[in-house]
Amino acid sequence: MSRDPQELNAPTIGAASDEEFLRAIQRAERGALPTEAKMRELAERIGPLSPATSIAARLLDWRLAVLAASSILVLGAVALQWRASETTPSAAPASVVDEAPPSEEPAPPPPAAEPVAVAPVVSVDALPTATATAPSRPRAALAEATCPGEIELVEAIDAALRAGDAEGALGRARQLEARCKSGRFVQERERLAIEALARLGQRDEVKARARTFEQRFPTSPHVWRIRSLAEGDSR
């Protein structure tokens, strides 16, 4: 297969660093969305969720109504079982479907569950998901204890950067540096600060801080990103 002459001079997969390779893959993968025809097909499958449009829909809602009542007991049992022991997902009854994230439902009412014929599955809440295995509060409290307010400032820097406020992000990063010289999230703080500097076009400082970072944290996962920032990628 012949290639466009311009492509012949372009950097190739084989010659790319691991970081460049991964970025190229991730960039290309963004285009891997389902086709319009596929979405139409999926829409047809989702369509019966409307009870007004089909027999299947009426059946679904009938089942939802029945299960809304019957699942109260089932979910109660699942919840008790899960709360009691977050390590035995396989013991959960196989009759209810997934739940929304816990953060969205502090006191969830019993959801209407799907019948086995539609979704013959175990509640995801009863499976060892990231949520189920999240570390307990004491661990979080321990992290906070090293430098109170550190995580909130890291979040604020991140938020400012995402909002396009590089100046604000940098100011908060300096504030955090002054407050938590050797906090737990020094690497994140530095990465965000360097991102902010890159967006502000402060190339010399970006390079200097990138060098310092790499010397201090040579095995950090942020090295890739920081290195590319130093090389001029401030996307």
Partner: protein, 189 residues
């Protein structure tokens, strides 16, 4: 966000609008359906299971939508449901002993320019790489690095403390870097 119908986009029957808001399943599907499809793959749902998993996501959306906080961002909420559905879909396939049914992707020609990798091939290669890391790290990595959610949003989606999300992200980045290196060694690219 305005109310919509699937038929407006895909000529499918209109869906039931939820009376206490201007958001309905059709709107959620129209705005997030394609991304849910993609994130399910990113989270490791087998290609043969993605359609079923997507349908399951929207069944849950349909059911939970009346409880959705209208002031909150929809995307993390939908992704939270997707993460849980994906987790279950993976386990279901694993327990049915159908793991490994997915064919290995064609190796990428090393002379391919960086900006000319085909989306489908990239998706397959990325799956192979992400399959090397555990589910918790994968979820954090996908949500932050690929879906570009902020770390606090990731923490909210996963229901874990923010510092845990940061720690998992750091570990995930290391694991992905390692997986990339091993993949390239193995494939000779």
């Amino acid at each position: 966000m305005t109310r919509g119908t699937l038929s407006s986009l895909h000529h499918a029957p209109a869906l039931l609008p939820f009376d206490r808001s201007s958001i309905d399943v059709a709107t959620v599907f129209r705005e997030h359906g394609a991304f849910v499809h993609r994130i399910l793959r990113r989270l490791g749902v087998h290609p043969a299971d993605v359609d079923d998993a997507l349908q399951e996501v929207f069944v849950v959306v349909h059911r939970r939508l009346p409880e959705f906080d209208r002031d909150a961002s929809m995307r993390p909420w939908v992704y939270g449901i997707s993460v849980r559905v994906a987790s279950r879909a993976r386990r279901r396939r694993w327990s049915s002993r159908e793991v490994g049914a997915e064919e290995a992707p064609e190796p990428i020609d090393p002379t391919t320019p960086l900006d000319s990798v085909a989306a489908k091939q990239a998706s397959e290669v990325l799956s192979v790489i992400l399959d090397q890391i555990d589910d918790e790290k994968r979820a954090v990595y996908v949500l932050h690095e690929l879906e570009e959610l902020s770390v606090p949003e990731v923490a909210k989606v996963l229901g874990c403390p923010v510092q845990t999300a940061y720690s998992r992200l750091r570990a995930a980045q290391v694991a992905v870097a390692d997986a990339v290196r091993r993949y390239r060694l193995r494939e000779g690219i």
